[in-house]
Symmetry: C2
Subunit: 118 residues, 2 copies
Amino acid sequence: MTRDNATQIFESLASGVRLDIWRLLIKSGQNGMVAGEMASALEIAPNSLSFHLKAMLHAGLVSVEQEGRFKRYRANTALMSDLITYMTEQCCIKQSDAQCEVTNTGDICSSAERYSDC
Amino acid sequence: MTRDNATQIFESLASGVRLDIWRLLIKSGQNGMVAGEMASALEIAPNSLSFHLKAMLHAGLVSVEQEGRFKRYRANTALMSDLITYMTEQCCIKQSDAQCEVTNTGDICSSAERYSDC
DNA sequence: TCAATAGTTCTCGTATTATTGAACTAAGTA
DNA sequence: TACTTAGTTCAATAATACGAGAACTATTGA
């Protein structure tokens, strides 16, 4: 997770429509959703949806899989998890190195807890 | 945490400059930083910094305190914590209600763990 | 091969956003 | 009071993003 990647992810969620898209995909879980279903559910034009999905794909927030003549999209929850870790890791810099080493174990849980203590 | 508030927060972080501002404030912890220090550290014009800080203030991401002729800014880490919780809560919708009840205890830690299992 | 469907890309008009320089307000100081 | 410093606001410009319509590609099926 680089600074530019983090910026890209925030850009990918920095509009009501894209947050809606994200939440819709989160709700659909592993099944994901086909583009047409999403356009109907969110009541947005297919080309507009495609525009936003492209940006989210570029940021890595969603993945896509061809399915006959459909395209199925899924939320990349692992990346969101990485983002949270990244945002909480920044918090560590001002802490003692000892605490950093204890919490820099890839355990997102402890990162989040440390974060709230900042 | 509402959907619009979440959108506002993402907008507040959806640029390299603002992410830099956020990280700078995170690093400074409870001390926070005076606007002039931040402008120097980030090498951006004071009025440009003011522009971005205003947006971040509006989103609630930072707080400000008058200090003589200076203004001291601090990161609102509690809100970031809320945002993380909100983003992970969305994940719950597709899960069983039982699991939701178990994890909807305000414990950001378990939310994050549940999230990565989505 | 032709038509229909799913989705993307292109183009254009509009609206929002960022940056810059100048003016402005407020607080400290000689 | 006048001057300096800190920070914000304003105005103009440039850049960027969004949405709508039309055209395009690819897959499916008659």
